[in-house]
């Protein structure tokens, strides 16, 4: 028996050995870039313990591989790492091309798995907590850290505006037609569906267009590009929404050529810090894709994010102190014992998209795409007509106002009222607003509703017995119809060259209007100008208060009806672009250019009584030619080192939202409106070695002739006031560093630094108008802010983190951030001749109009008191530096091919309370006592701020198979 067993084992052993020896194969392939399918030289291809570098043509080979499934991993500078499962089943298997995307975000095994970046869907633009720097959170070592870790303090890459980054979805540009900002809110909450992204950094040429100076992100949100399988996750947090549920299924490309994907999510509830910012946000995503044959492929994608959520308003430090919370939200009030937020964002803007891919040969790729965005986007707010300001933090309700007025007794009495009745004083009293509306009726002594001049007596009769709402919740709409068409062609000329180019076309029509969301217990609203009505003294003058003279049936309006203003913003943009890439040994050159033609105009749908001849119909069509010229030169002496030099020159059309002095009311174009000019230089160095992965860069950028429209509600005049600025110049320069390095075993150190200087370099012009008067309040005056700093972003941001991953898939991290050189957003009004007129002869200001404030003070030879007063009035507030510590823990279990995991992040462990942003109030305080004897003299109103949330958590539990 023993002999038999020995013989059997020997026989089996020999047999296995022979079998093994006879089943040995090899694999070969070429690593190419997705961008032009150019070969990638010196890419690292690893298979188990083996590792090879690709040749100049991108090729590699592994030999003597046993039959079976193996995994090869590919890494290359500037590209997204990738891994491929290969079945070795023949002596030499040719994988053909392995395509690497340029810095693709695949998120297959990042440190904290997908939980690291899910926080990006909290959409808090302009509110207390910032939007992320970029949702792409790319593999670039600097961007990966800065994109997330710097976002709590509103960090913006290099200080640039959001509209400098170009966002694409499935290759179609998805920036807002009227502002240029990325339209992240259109797919917010669809993290799984939009996770696969490819990004280029800074001035590099994008994969779907030339891009600008702040990188490009292309979201690959179609079925074949999404990670196959089923995923579900549940989140609870204390710093954004309370809960998030998300589930996604992706089939992957099936044998029949179909791929499909669906995703649903819900974000619900509020947070621990701000009252009334509850989320009621849902999201859906559907995509189907058909590979017709090897040459043709079609994808259909449809998604939307029906959302309603509350917004926070900044508050003065005084109001914050009185309310007892850094996160006091003046938008909130009490209604029947329940908390109600007057300012709710409510939107549902679905996007439908079709993509077509034509690949006639392996060197040519042609894509075509069309998308359509529609739906509605509203932002509610309290509105009132001939009634008292209902806001709890209205300046007269704060003690400091009475202090300024020289009435300390009243100040003290008001302070006492706040202390004793905080709960009543800090909220909008919705019950009271309802009761005002209940009793608003001529039967109770009110004046009869003014007759429409074109209707006559009918109006009174039509509202007889009804209550006229004095207070309402209005909804300001920006409803877009946005059609985009794209054609793109790529051709690999040789192993060293490729060209890519395309045509983009966009037609956008955005309707701006207000509608009545809630009459707050009343029966109707009168669609007339609140303030203009005051100036009416004769029947024949009534029409100046009428908001729309073209119709009479929209004078008495109810819930859902439009009122106030209604106009279209039309824009048409055509772009022709192309890029050429050349690789010569260790050198790469990319040249890219884009020419664009933009035309936009305003079409007034209301003929406003105050602007009878200049409000209805089309404005002049504004035409602008734009271009982008870009050159990138890269030197890669080996697979570890890379140096890139870039230069960009741009001329960009202004955006519609900045082009008219008062777009709500009239067709008047901002004086001096012109194209903005951008010039940017960038040098970057990358080093990748087993002991460190780093990137360092330096940049210098100038903007000239930017335009900006600032609109704010002027409660003195009960109307929007508009400041149209032109000729804004600014300069940005600085350095960036990002690195990640292992220390010991599974412990690694990472860090990022962004140190810059962003400064205004001109004194722009501004024109001020108000929506309810034909007068131009300030005509083309100077704003003296030359030398002041670009606001609302830290100009210094540093990060250092420790990351640890155990062998049993436990992840730990701790990181610290430091922020400095943060400045408050400036109000131009404080820096004008008019504001300074109480202290200085304005002729002296004018005589040195190109000077800075300090020059003006010196040249005018002001006395010490006047100089100090001007400095106080014009000074820009710098926030204190902030230091923040965060920590994370996570674990993943692998159970029979399925994954179950969690991650928990504790943010702001140090409970740092610091200002993250805010603004200066758009009003001047007139010193009454001084005015009585010596003329007008202005001082500031207190600024309003947002504060960083204290210690908060984000817990994500996820499941995949």
């Amino acid at each position: 028996m023993k002999k038999f067993l020995t013989t059997l084992l020997l026989t089996l052993g020999v047999a296995l050995t022979v079998m093994g020896q006879s089943k040995v194969g090899a694999i070969t392939g070429k690593v190419v870039s997705r961008q032009g399918r150019q070969p990638i030289e010196m890419a690292t291809v690893s298979l188990g313990d083996q590792s090879v570098r690709t040749a100049a043509d991108g090729s590699f080979t592994f030999e003597n591989l046993p039959y079976g499934i193996v995994t090869i991993e590919i890494e290359a500078l500037g590209h997204q790492p990738s891994s491929v499962n290969v079945k070795v089943d023949r002596p030499l298997k040719d994988l053909n091309y392995i395509t690497l995307a340029v810095v693709v975000e695949a998120m297959t095994s990042d440190f904290l798995d997908d939980s690291s970046f899910v926080e990006f869907d909290s959409e808090l633009e302009g509110e207390s907590q910032s939007t992320p720097v970029s949702l792409s959170a790319s593999k670039d070592v600097f961007n990966n850290i800065a994109g997330y870790k710097f976002s709590p303090l509103r960090f913006r890459n290099r200080g640039y505006d959001q509209n400098t980054e170009v966002i694409y979805l499935n290759g179609v540009e998805m920036t807002d037609a009227n502002s240029g900002n990325g339209t992240w809110s259109l797919w917010s909450g669809l993290n799984e569906a939009t996770r696969n992204q490819e990004a280029t950094y800074a001035t590099s040429v994008g994969t779907s267009g030339v891009g600008g100076i702040n990188g490009t992100t292309n979201i690959l949100a179609r079925a074949s590009q999404m990670r196959q399988g089923f995923r579900a996750s549940a989140v609870t947090s204390s710093g954004s929404y309370r809960y998030r549920l998300m589930t996604t299924y992706t089939s992957g490309m099936q044998d029949n050529g179909w791929a499909y994907a669906a995703s649903l999510s819900a974000r619900l509830g509020g947070n621990d810090f701000v009252e009334g910012v509850t989320y009621n946000a849902w999201a859906y995503f559907l995509s189907a894709e058909k590979r017709i044959n090897s040459m043709h492929q079609v994808a259909l994608t449809f998604f939307g994010v029906p959302t309603e959520r509350g917004a926070q308003m900044a508050a003065t430090d005084e109001a914050i102190g009185l309310a007892g919370s850094y996160w006091y939200n003046p938008n909130v009030g009490m209604q029947n014992g329940k908390l109600r937020n007057a300012r709710m964002r409510s939107y549902h803007e679905p996007v439908a998209m079709v993509n077509y891919f034509f690949t006639p040969d392996d060197k040519t790729k042609i894509t075509a795409a069309a998308s359509f965005r529609f739906g509605q986007n509203g932002y509610s707010a309290l509105d009132w007509n001939s009634a008292a300001d209902p806001r709890a933090d209205y300046y007269r309700n704060l003690p400091s106002y009475w202090d300024k007025k020289g009435d300390p007794a009243h100040r003290d009495q008001l302070l006492k009222a706040w202390i004793n009745n905080r709960e009543k004083m800090m909220y909008v009293d919705f019950d009271k607003l309802y009761n005002v509306n209940y009793n608003s009726n001529p039967a109770n002594g009110d004046r009869p509703t003014m007759q429409h001049p074109l209707v006559g007596d009918g109006v009174e009769q039509s509202v007889a017995g009804l209550n006229r709402s004095r207070y309402i919740i209005s909804e300001r709409h920006t409803d877009q119809r946005d059609f985009r068409l794209k054609l793109q062609a790529e051709r690999t000329i040789s192993n060293r060259q490729n060209v890519v180019g395309g045509i983009d076309f966009r037609r956008n029509r955005t309707e701006y209007y207000t509608s009545i969301k809630d009459l707050l217990g009343g029966d109707y609203w009168v669609n007339m100008d609140n303030f203009a009505e005051r100036d009416i003294h004769a029947a024949e003058e009534r029409k100046i208060a009428i908001n729309d003279l073209t119709r009479t049936d929209n004078y008495i309006v109810g819930e859902g009806d439009k009122y106030g203003y209604d106009y279209y913003a039309h824009s048409t943009v055509g772009k022709l672009w192309g890029a050429y890439n050349l690789r010569l040994g260790h050198y790469q050159l990319a040249l890219a250019g884009e020419a664009s033609y933009t035309t936009f105009w305003r079409e007034g749908l209301y003929q406003k009584g105050l602007f009878e001849d200049n409000s209805f119909g089309d404005s002049e069509h504004l035409d602008f030619f734009g271009y982008t010229a870009k050159a990138n030169f890269t030197y890669e002496p080996n697979g570890s080192n890379s140096v890139q030099l870039s230069a960009v020159a741009q001329q960009n059309a202004p955006y519609f939202q900045d082009a008219f002095v008062s777009p709500r009311t009239r067709n008047t174009v901002a004086p001096g409106l012109t194209t903005e000019k951008v010039l940017s230089f960038d040098v970057a160095y990358s080093y990748k070695a087993p002991w460190i992965n780093l990137r360092a860069s330096a940049y210098y950028t100038t903007f000239k002739d930017q335009s900006k429209l600032i609109s704010f509600y002027d409660d003195v005049w009960s109307a929007f006031s508009n400041m149209s600025l032109t000729g804004i110049d600014s300069r940005y320069y600085g350095v960036e560093l990002g690195f990640r390095m292992p220390i010991v075993a599974d412990l690694s150190l990472s860090g990022a630094a962004s140190i810059g200087d962003y400064t205004y370099t001109s004194n722009p012009y501004f024109t001020q108008t108000r929506d309810n008067t034909a007068a131009t309040l300030v005509d083309n005056a100077r704003v003296y802010w030359k030398g002041m700093k670009v606001e609302s972003t830290p100009q210094v941001a540093l990060n250092l983190g420790l990351n640890y991953k155990t062998s049993n898939n436990i992840y730990l991290s701790v990181d610290a951030e430091y922020f400095d050189k943060m400045y408050l957003s400036m109000n131009p009004l404080y820096r004008t001749e008019g504001a300074m007129s109480g202290y200085i002869d304005t002729k002296k200001v004018d005589a040195v109009f190109d000077g800075t404030i300090d020059n003006i003070i010196a040249d005018a030879a002001l006395d010490k008191v006047a100089a100090e007063s001007i400095r106080t009035l014009t000074a820009q507030e710098k926030f204190k530096p902030a230091f923040i510590v965060n920590a994370s823990i996570g674990k993943t279990w692998y159970i029979g091919g399925k994954q179950l995991g969690f991650s928990l992040e504790i943010k702001n462990l140090t409970n740092t309370i610091t200002k993250t942003g805010g603004f200066e109030q758009m009003r001047l305080f007139s010193d009454d006592e001084y005015e009585a004897t010596s003329g007008t003299r202005y001082t500031r109103f207190d600024s309003k701020y947002f504060y960083l949330y204290g210690t908060n958590y984000y817990l994500n539990v996820y499941f995949r198979f």
Partner: protein
């Protein structure tokens, strides 16, 4: 798909209307508060303890828990009253009226003409200003006996809206040439602040010199503050095609003339709004003059006043005013609306 449907229907939060506030009543004043008529209140806390000469500034903090039951007789809807409401005793004008300096704008939306208002007076300042008594808060300026309450929690605690009773004929004191002598003069304290219907008043333009008026007084006058002194202008001749009268002497800003209106409001060359009080003279014949004083901020400021010699019926609040030294005492009338002046 079900989830999507739920999403689409669940997004908009709906809010129910709130219950109407329960009107204050005598019962809701509580047993600790004692009711007084307005005139009894004025007598007890002011006239009997502070028999102030007209121009003096005196005030008293009401120490007792007393309440008034009143009716609103003013409206700031058209802007001629500002931050104050005038309350007349709910029994009628014979029991007096008083101004209450609330300190808020657009109060007509809360305190409706004819609405019953209960005023809890304890802690409020009862003061005079050149003859007129008012209730308010403490003043920080010595020239005023009291100030605006302004603080919402105190307003809500002290000024309590009751039922919407409406104004009736009984709420208006009829004043005509026959009874005017019994209302103005020595007995006027009883009626100051009340809502009166003046029947048969005559509009008088140009210089008058009657009943203590200096020879320099001219009416209508509303440019008095333009050069920081009381400057008199006379409208002469016939109106031009635009209805403007010649201003005499010509004003530097308006040599072309101006329409004779209740008050005046305009934007100057710098675009700054300027508003001036206007004074228009009415009298029963040449006796018993009353000045209708109107704010430049009122919405009827630029409506034309009755021309010289026209006779009108007018419903207005009876007020009295004097200089800081107590001289030049005049009766002033406060209009809620120009519609309350009807040319006969």
């Amino acid at each position: 798909m079900t989830l999507a449907l739920v999403a689409l229907t669940a997004c908009e939060q709906q809010w129910d209307d709130v219950p109407a506030r329960v009107p204050a009543t005598d019962e809701s004043m509580g047993a600790e508060y004692q009711y007084m008529t307005v005139n009894a209140f004025k007598d007890k806390y002011f006239y009997s303890v502070l028999p102030a000469p007209a121009g003096n500034v005196k005030s008293v903090t009401i120490p007792d828990k007393v309440y008034l039951k009143t009716k609103v007789i003013s409206s700031d809807e058209l802007g001629n009253t500002y931050r104050s409401i005038y309350l007349q005793d709910a029994n009628g004008p014979q029991d007096g009226a008083i101004e209450i300096k609330v300190g808020k704008g657009s109060m007509y939306t809360i305190y409706k003409p004819g609405q019953i208002i209960y005023v809890k007076c304890d802690g409020l300042e009862l003061g005079n200003y050149r003859w007129m008594l008012s209730l308010g808060g403490k003043s920080s300026e010595a020239k005023y006996s009291n100030g605006y309450i302004d603080i919402q929690t105190i307003i809500d605690e002290k000024i309590l809206p009751g039922e919407l009773a409406g104004l009736t004929a009984a709420d208006t004191l009829v004043v005509n040439s026959s009874n005017v002598a019994s209302i103005v003069g020595a007995n006027d304290k009883q009626y100051l602040g009340t809502l009166c219907r003046f029947e048969g008043l005559e509009s008088i333009w140009g210089t008058i010199n009657a009943d203590g008026y200096s020879s320099g007084d001219t009416f209508p006058s509303f440019l008095e503050q333009i050069v920081d002194t009381y400057t008199d202008y006379t409208w002469t001749g016939q109106p031009d095609e635009q209805g403007r009268y010649t201003l005499s002497p010509a004003h530097k800003d308006h040599p072309e003339g101006l329409p004779a209106t209740w008050a005046y409001s305009y934007y100057n060359a710098e675009g700054k709004s300027n508003s001036y009080y206007g004074s228009a003279l009415f009298a029963f014949g040449s006796s018993y003059p009353f000045l209708v004083r109107t704010s430049g901020y009122s919405r009827f400021a630029l409506e034309p006043i009755p021309t010289d010699g026209e006779v009108v019926d007018m419903t207005a609040i009876l007020c009295k005013y004097c200089s800081s030294s107590g001289g030049f005492t005049k009766y002033q009338l406060l209009l809620n609306s120009a519609d309350d002046v009807v040319v006969k």
